[in-house]
Subunit: 496 residues, 2 copies
């Protein structure tokens, strides 16, 4: 059947196009299965598992906005690494916020770029694992007393909810959260504090804030690479945020320190072999394959998240029906993540948040012309400037939607580029324009297919995260979606 | 540069075609590197290595026409398996033949389907490893005496050539060729016989003779699968024989028992993990990936091989200049392997050698109509019948060339098939015919590329031997080569 009509060239070309598209969609699905292999198993650890976790080192692997992460292994599955997230607890609301964020997160379906929770509970944590509290304690005696008083209050309170605190015996004190090969008394394991603890599978190695800080010199030295990496991280952020839209969830606290980075090994996400120094050949091959994507980005800290309930009380609905839209919370926050993503573009490119620099900006009806320009340092700067302006539009209904922002980033990363834009603008009509875009897509899909084919014979780790992200783009684009993005990116600034 | 001219559809299609062709050629090369990974390292074991080899089992892994093979490991590299080939030595000429075959084989460049020698020497072999000799010994006392007398003569003679016999001390007797974990005295290790021993990297598990014998029931049960496997083995045979043509080497003793089969794991050819019973999931995935190709075929036993010297003595050349071509040995044997390949087709399809059945056939000027028909059991039977007739042509100059036989097998395996032949015969002219074949090739190349792309995300062993063989075909075919093969396969029998 496949070879029927082989005489007709146009039919053959159409069939090759169809095969490429179908295969890329299939491959994108297979990539998802592979990259999310561990995450799709439903794991749930309770208080009773607490004593089976061992820290692999005594130092945090990542210090995020709302929590500190430690790498740990689970006694019943010692080859897999987990992260133990210990929530910071300066403010009294921690727990309440935590249970709020938990409820929001649990309403969302699994996503590659949203933190997944494999269990959470109140646990007694050795004070040595809470170094920031000690620092704070040393900072002021008054604070310390207050903190301790709060701790007491907290501890009493926390016994009340259905979530049971892991009770600590001396035995557990020695076993629970012992650093492998280190005696229990090191670091004053004797002092315990009750904290909200979350177990996650993805072990973050830094936050985007760390990445940006460490990247300052790299940004100057190799702006094309650094800004491309920024685009890849922003793209993942947009994917995660776009995923939340159908659930009517808005994060509302998108900051560099709430975005985590996780090393990404497809297929065997916990295979440390590639990271070991005595496996240099493999590591080099893996690094070459990994492309420019620095890591998997994970959105964390949903404590400020807003969710528009889908089950609205009819009485409330009637009351709201006469209110201006900007007054209703859920509507108010609808385009909040888009705005914050715009600020993140500035911050990731080592520029200050324009609204922190010029607070009066928000007081007046600013236009994109009032926003500080991003320095043109790379191939990507101009496009990121355009995207930031579209995201920071003062008028939420004119502000670009998350899905369009994501499509803009895809276009900045993988094209079409300037040269094709010019060919498009000189195209006599929309049919010719669509044909050009279809040809571009055919060529890109062929190249993508070749890349996958060559990966099958690579000795490295195979398909990289960047391959997957690019495959998603090419598999689900059409001349129409491409034309839309090109139009958005070409909008003259005066129209913004 | 790549995206210049994206407006022009024909240009884009042409570029996609070029990309596919170039990539398939690159992939075919990468496959070769991978499948021949071990073989390309130049290994040479001498007599001094003999005591470092240990048999992994006491039973032969393969009993071939000219030798018996044992699996062995080498003390200095114990994870890699080698085969120890112990030449059968009933006839006095063994050694002379062996050194002849060695000279012929060493004149050939490495090839995937030709046995490679990693070292050879005269060695004292425990009699228990020569079970056939014991059988023969028990058969007649007279033979035994003669054999022993011969052995004595041999042993004296063999000290003479530059090749030194591995001298045996009692210590070596215990160490050399010890079966792992088995005391040296088991099986009468005390008796030693001097034999020609060859070390090869490829461990055969059976000969094609065994495959054919064991395949009789399978041939009846699943003729399409069995006959496809026969095509894949014949294709490898043709590749090996075609490789010998530029070296003017003719094997002249192509028999089922001189063709060895070796398990083929690309990349890690000695990784036994996949074969272990406790690794069923991997083994199943590997089997699914491996396609229908039963094994790698290796041409062995060059004892009857003829080589036309490229440096011909001018005097000899002058003498030969007045002789009829069929009298000159090298010319006489030029198409001998083609003829024997034709006989092998009959034998592999469980039919007797036509010339053994009807010896008088050769006495008269037979035509293909005189050859017994092959039963039409599968998709491949008719094509194999045609190919056998072409190979068994009584007139060597009309007999099909090895390269064309190879191309016929490729066409039988991967198309084009009957349906396209019909479309071609109704094509108005050669331009339309070439266009149809080019379209067919474009489609097949796309499918091959997709297969490789999907392999990159398979959890099995990746690219199979059949993938490589098919990739070679599609990468190096053109409408012209395809048209030639279609013409050959469509020749009416009367023209043969």
């Amino acid at each position: 059947v496949l070879y029927k009509g082989t005489e007709n060239w146009e039919e053959v070309v159409g069939r090759i196009r169809g095969l490429h598209t179908d295969t890329l969609r299939k491959l994108a699905g297979k990539c998802e299965d592979r990259f999310m292999a561990g995450q799709k198993d439903h794991l749930r650890f309770g208080t009773d598992s607490w004593s089976d976790f061992r820290l692999t080192t005594g130092k945090p692997c990542c210090e995020a906005g709302d929590a500190v992460y430690y790498t740990a292994s689970y006694a019943k599955d010692p080859l897999v690494n987990y992260a133990i997230k210990i929530c910071r607890s300066k403010v009294k609301e921690t727990q309440q916020q935590f249970f709020h964020s938990l409820a929001v997160r649990q309403s969302l379906a699994l996503h590659f770029n949203i933190q997944q929770d494999c269990g959470h509970f109140l646990a007694d944590v050795p004070a040595r694992l809470l170094p920031w509290e000690e620092e704070e304690d040393n900072g002021g005696e008054q604070d310390k007393e207050q903190e301790e008083a709060e701790g007491e209050v907290e501890k009493k309170k926390t016994k009340e909810p259905s979530e049971k605190t892991a009770t600590t015996t001396t035995k557990e004190e020695e076993e629970g959260l012992l650093v492998a090969g280190q005696p229990a008394h090191v670091g004053g394991a004797g002092t315990l504090r009750s904290r909200v603890v979350v177990i996650t599978r993805e072990v973050p190695f830094q936050t985007v804030a760390d990445f940006v800080r460490e990247g300052a010199a790299r940004h100057a030295r190799n702006p094309d690479l650094y800004e491309r990496q920024v685009c890849l991280l922003l793209l993942q952020l947009c994917w995660g945020l776009e995923h939340m839209k159908p659930y009517h969830v808005t994060h509302c606290d998108l900051r560099l320190e709430n975005l985590l980075l996780v090393h990404c090994q497809p297929g065997n996400p916990w295979n440390l072999e590639l990271l070991e120094p005595n496996n240099n050949a493999n590591a080099a091959a893996a690094a070459a394959n990994a492309g420019t994507c620095p890591a998997r980005l994970i959105i964390s800290n949903f404590s400020q998240a807003k969710q528009k309930s889908t089950l609205v009380d009819p009485g409330v609905l009637k009351d709201q029906s006469r209110l201006a839209p900007e007054i209703i919370t859920a509507t108010q926050y609808r385009k909040c993540d888009e705005f914050q993503t715009g600020i993140l573009i500035y911050e990731m490119l080592h520029q200050p948040n324009p609204f922190e620099e010029t607070p009066e900006l928000k007081e007046r009806e600013y236009t994109c012309a009032d926003l500080p320009p991003l320095p043109a340092r790379s191939l990507y700067s101009q496009g990121l400037q355009q995207l930031a302006s579209l995201l920071l539009n003062a008028n939420p209904s004119e502000r670009i939607r998350m899905a369009d922002a994501r499509a803009c980033l895809q276009c900045l990363l993988w094209g079409p580029r300037e040269d094709l834009f010019q060919a498009l603008s000189s195209a006599p009509g929309p049919a010719q324009r669509d044909a050009t875009l279809q040809n571009w897509l055919d060529l890109k899909r062929t190249l993508m297919m070749i890349k996958f084919a060559e990966r099958s014979l690579d000795s490295g780790s195979g398909v990289s995260l960047e391959d997957w992200l690019c495959c998603q783009y090419l598999a689900f684009s059409s001349p129409e979606t491409l034309a839309r993005v090109v139009r958005i990116l070409q909008q003259p600034p005066t129209q913004l």
